[in-house]
Symmetry: C2
Subunit: 237 residues, 2 copies
DNA sequence: CGCCAAAATTGATCTGGGTCAATCGGCTTT
DNA sequence: AAAGCCGATTGACCCAGATCAATTTTGGCG
């Protein structure tokens, strides 16, 4: 879907009461810096399925995800897709060395991002090592996750992939909605399949199998973990 | 294999005539800084198969690879292994957020690294934004590669994986030994398999098949690309 | 509510790559 | 040069997960 970016102007909000104030890149800024920072970003809303940026596009902005979920993916020429990650509020997107995006990003459901033009953002960062360190920390965290995911993609069975996915997603959801055994799944089965390197049929069958065995319950918009320990055992083995 | 680190003392070398002076993290340092930097690192040699650090170890040092090749990998409890990357001269290892290594690294053949204790290195970096930026750049480059590799692991066939591996490795070898259609492969078939998410048998069969088709020639210690265009076609599709 | 389209599930069948099991071949050791 | 070893290759067979093909369920909308 093509983008129809709706700006909310720099006046319609304040960084100081932003939902991700404490978790995003901004967490490294003090109150004074935040004031200046406020003028660099503009809030943008996107509808479900809209694309924020595409692979190979020249990257002109950084994005700070404020609300919603995004899928980050790469496509092969023949249409095969690999989702390289899901972004949640507080995630920082748009870093690259080539000047072009190395993956595409689109909204799963409604999304709000804070968009920063690269040049002023780069200037702001320049003499603020703490912000740079914070960005570096986020990149390294991302790298960690990427390596874990390589293990999953290269060496785990379908059952293990699905179980690990449920646990991983539950973990990330905690930060937003608090601890719970109900895992909300805003993305489609196809998205899950493309994230795990499986087909949609295998994902569906695996969920059904786990439900038959009383390990999970498939509910509207998510999965309830009836027996979290069994899920963990499946994911670990 | 257990490490038997052999130090070459800070006196036995100079950063200024280091092989990776221009490509490693050090490329961001000027002549004056280099003098100080010199005292932070110590050269360490490792024999074939020796482990530099293991996953879950508390990380106390950073490493700058000077000579040789290393495999970086993660193990599952049951022994399955995923190689998350190969390190070449100029690569910088040891960054993490948790204080523990998130993968293991060992030498493929003889290796020389430049080891930096974390604390003094961190102090040196502190007020040098250009070094921090350089490290950030290396992390982002790594992240790029990791995402490409996820696509390979999750969505490509065995033939495509092997072809893409040969091209990728050839590309990296260029930086060291110059452009050539002979791809040196210092790692074992098992290493290649664990990098590509395949078995050793499949890697071997794929090589043999490509050779039968006149696309490559299997030579001692590597592969010669007889028909690079065909290899590229295989990798792309 | 009833209609339509998209998403998800389920079933039947197929196959790429894994598993198991011999060799093979190149080095090292003696 | 014979023996032993370890990595690599090859062959025969198998199976997890893909593919193909219907349904079934869900969600949006007049």
């Amino acid at each position: 879907m093509k983008p129809s970016l709706v700006t909310i102007g720099p006046n319609g909000h304040f960084c100081s009461d932003c939902a991700v104030r404490e978790s995003a890149v901004c967490s490294s800024l003090d109150a004074v810096e935040l004031r200046e920072f406020e003028h660099l970003g503009r809030r943008v809303r996107l509808g479900s399925g809209e694309t924020v940026f595409s692979e190979e596009d020249i990257s002109t902005s950084f994005y700070n995800l404020l609300e919603g979920v995004m899928r980050l993916y790469k496509l092969l020429p023949d249409g095969r897709r690999q989702i390289v990650g899901f972004a949640l509020p507080g995630d920082f997107l748009g870093m690259n060395v080539s000047g072009r995006h190395n993956f595409s990003a689109d909204a799963i459901g409604a999304v709000t991002v804070c968009q920063f033009a690269k040049t002023p953002f780069g200037r702001f960062i320049e003499d603020r090592a703490h912000l740079l360190r914070r960005i570096n920390e986020l990149a390294i965290r991302e790298l960690d996750h990427a390596r874990d995911h390589m293990v999953l993609l290269g060496r785990r069975s379908a059952d293990e992939k699905v179980a690990a996915f449920l646990l991983g997603w539950r973990e990330r959801s905690f930060a937003l909605k608090g601890r719970s055994d109900t895992v909300p799944l805003p993305m489609s089965r196809q998205d899950i399949a493309d994230y795990l390197g499986l087909t949609i049929e295998t994902v569906s069958r695996t969920f059904t199998k786990l439900e038959r065995h009383g390990v999970i319950e498939i509910i509207h918009g998510g999965i309830r973990l009836l027996d979290p320990a069994r899920v963990e055992a499946l994911a670990a083995a």
